[in-house]
Amino acid sequence: MSAADTTTPAKVPPPRQAPPPAPKRPGGKRTSGGAATPWLLLAPCLLVLVLVMGYPLLRLVTLSFQKFGQSQLWGFQPAESVGFDNFTDVLGDDEFWTVVVRTIVFAGGAVVLTMVIGMLIALLLQKVSGWLKTLINIVLVASWGMPVIVATTVFKWLFDSDYGVFNALLSKLPGVDMIGHNWFASGPQGLAVIMLLVVWGAVPFVVITLSAGLTQVPKELEEAARLDGAGAWGVFRFVTLPILKPIIVMLTTLSVIWDMGVFPQVFVMRNGHPEAEFQVLNTYSYDRAFVVNDYAQGSAIALLTVLLLLGVVAVYMRQMLKIGEVE
């Protein structure tokens, strides 16, 4: 595709943002170079993306319409097309719908918590003394930079049933004895811990991005609103929030995409074998493919997950493009 495009002659309409022609250079050479150069520059990138991304994506789609199990993997049997069978199987399965609801509740909870806590901390950072602000920023950036696997391991240790510090601290409260309490014995409690882990890891990015945004809110506007009798909430609601809206939309959509896609957190927390109560869409798709060895159904589930996210992705992309156009 890119190869064909690089050879298109210079019949392109005058470029939108063409730099003024340099007076010393012959104009003809510049324009012909101008049409092909961007495609030449893009060629390696597009080539890599088409090879490593386009082909697997295509395979993901074809796979979900085939019967593909262990025997097809080893080449004993050819993969045969089965039409929509995989999808009807998946969609007709109650367990799938339980997983979908669980994933949405989990991701929704994580996103709301992340955004609210992130916003509160970002606002708080404007009020605290400089030295404390620096300290909090260092801690936030450090926890942001923590590899997910390391963070998951640390949380596993914090919430260990016998020696975990969280149970020990809770037991210090009068009348509470949590020593030996296994947080992962029940799905909802275990997922709450995992949600905490996800939120802990996601809040720093939100705080730092929102803080940067808050510095760009004009002081005069806040001042004017205050003079007009707005309280702290009024200033936030009618001045700060509208100005930050593009950033908030971007952060929320990104969070939805990320939190719908949690995998290592659940996977590692459950030692590589999440129980039925812990399955979210991604682990469920993985489970179908690599544990049950039904690669086709796993692909169908992955594809359905992508479709589920499409709306959110569209909002995110619109926002990014809007930001991208301001140059």
Binding site: L49, L57, V268, N282, S285
Partner: protein
Amino acid sequence: MSTATVATTDGAAPAAARRPSRLGWNLLGLLVFLVAGFPLYWMLNTAFKPAKDAIDPDPSLLPTGITFDNFDRALNIADFWGPVGRSLIVSLSVVLVGIVVGTLAALAISRFAFRGRKIVIVGILAVQMVPLVAMIIPVFLLLNDLGQYDRLTGLIITYLTFVLPFTVWTLRGFIVNIPRELEEAAMVDGCSRTGAFIRVVFPLLAPGMVATSVYAFIQAWNEYLYALMLLSQKNQTATVWLGNFTTKHGTEYAPMMAGATMMAVPIVVLFLLVQRKMAAGLTAGAVKG
């Protein structure tokens, strides 16, 4: 501290009402600091703790003495330097390819106007949105067919799927912040387009490229799922190595925290170094939209 001066320069609220509230905000801030930092602190605390103190049902919150035994144990539980070496090879190769290919593409979409530019931008953004987990099944089958299962090259190529779009988009952000007039001035003075890039744009872009490289390196280094699925046990990378502390007999937490510390500290330091630069690149112009 300088509460009084801050309050007076602020002007809007009376200074007397400000002073106690600043203290309240600071206390709240301190709480945030403690809660957010606790997991990090506890990781370090456990890593340096004598192993018997780590399995105390009523652990002391303060350090109980410093020992390096846990690190010793962590280094010996399974080969450590092999996985680290492999992670380094993979991450550095990914960064090298990503940054060269990515810079060219970023230049194209930020400095040239051409038909299809918007489609390319949308495509690169869209590719970034495809969840990695959805791709693992076809990628696994593909590498299996190509005989690239359990090879580092297979992993490197796979990592480009998420490093490359990110690199292109971030570098684009840095490039659009470099005034086009500088390049034009150089071209008026007789530079070729390539010359103008090498002499003018490149020096200005270099810090952004470094930051993007470090960030891409961290992403590749931290990746877990592909490393787990596409490499066998004997070729595991650093993130997968951390799983060795959990066996069916239980988990050795103190050495595991030592291992976690060894993995996290270099990455966190790198991250602290480039974060400011990255945040600036990511949010530039965001508010104006």
